[in-house]
Symmetry: C2
Subunit: 164 residues, 2 copies
C-alpha cells in the first residue's frame, strides 16, 4: 500500500465512529451497525454489545465476524469513490477479569462518553476483533488486500513518531 493510502486508511479507522458488523444468523449473513474503538496500533477493534441484540446472539453461536468502516457519505462525491475498509476476524469476549478490560473500557468511553451507562448493564459484553484479513478501498483503483501486518503498518503511517 502506498503511503498516501496508508494514511487515508489510518484516518478513516481512527476517525470513524460506526462500523457495519456482519455476523452469521442461521448460516446466512446479517449486517447491523455498531460503534467501535480501535487499538492505537490497529491490532484489534473493540465493540460493546448487548446480549439481547441479534448480532451478539449470532456471535455467541459463531464468533466469525466482519467489520466495515466507511467514509461518511455527505452526498458531495461519487459514492463509488468513498473510502472503506473491511475487516475479518473472530469476536473474542473480554471479561472484566481480563487485565486488558479496564484500559479498553477507558479508551472506549473517551470516544463514546454517552455509552457509559451500558457498562452498568449486565447484558453488555466487550468483544475484541483482531484482524485476520481485510481489504481497503481508497477510491477508484486503490484497492488493497490486507494482512494483520498491513493493519499495523497503516496505524504506524500516521503516528507522531513516524511523522517526526
Amino acid at each position: 500500500m502506498d503511503a498516501t493510502s496508508a494514511r487515508k486508511m489510518a484516518g478513516l479507522v481512527r476517525g470513524g465512529r460506526v462500523a457495519a458488523l456482519g455476523t452469521l444468523r442461521d448460516g446466512a449473513p446479517l449486517v447491523t451497525q455498531v460503534i467501535y474503538s480501535v487499538a492505537d496500533d490497529f491490532s484489534a477493534f473493540y465493540i460493546h454489545v448487548s446480549r439481547l441484540a441479534q448480532h451478539t446472539q449470532d456471535i455467541l453461536r459463531d464468533p466469525r465476524v466482519s467489520l466495515m468502516i466507511a467514509e461518511s457519505d455527505d452526498g458531495t462525491v461519487d459514492p463509488q469513490t468513498l473510502a472503506r475498509v473491511s475487516v475479518r476476524g473472530d469476536a473474542v469476549a473480554i471479561t472484566p477479569e481480563d487485565d486488558r478490560y479496564d484500559g479498553i473500557k477507558r479508551r472506549y468511553l473517551q470516544k463514546f462518553p454517552a455509552a457509559a451507562p451500558n457498562f452498568d448493564l449486565g447484558d453488555f459484553m466487550l468483544y475484541c476483533v483482531e484482524p485476520q484479513s481485510g481489504r481497503f478501498v481508497g477510491g477508484f483503483g486503490k484497492i488493497y488486500n490486507l494482512t494483520p501486518v498491513n493493519f499495523l503498518a497503516a496505524a504506524a503511517s500516521d503516528s507522531p513518531r513516524m511523522q517526526s
Copy 2:
C-alpha cells in the same frame, strides 16, 4: 411500526446511496460497501456489481446476503442513535434479457449517472434482493422487526397518495 418511524425508514431507504453488503466468504461473513437503488414500493433492492469483486464471487457461490443502510454519521449526534435498516434476502441475477432489466437500469442510472460506464463492462451483473426479513432501528427504543409487508408499508407511508 408507528407512522413516524415508517416515514423515517422510508426517508432513509430512499435517500441513502450506499449500503453495507454482507456476503458469505468461506462460510464466514464479509462486509463490503455497494451503491444501491430500490423499487418505489421497497419490494426489492438493486445492486450492480463486478464479477471481479469479492462480494460478487461470494454471491455466485451462495446468494444469501444482507444489506444495511444507515443514516450518515456527520459527527453531531450520539452515534448509537443513528437510524439504520437491515435487510436479509437472496441476491438474484437479473439479466439483460429480463423484461425488468431496462427499467431497473434506467432508474439506477437516474440515481447514479456516474455509474453508466459499468453497464458497458462485461463483468458487471445486476442483482435484485427482495427483503425476506429485516430490522429497523430508528433510535433508542425504536427497534422493529420487519417482514416483507413492513417494507411495503414503510414505502407507502411517504408516498404522495398516502400523504394527500
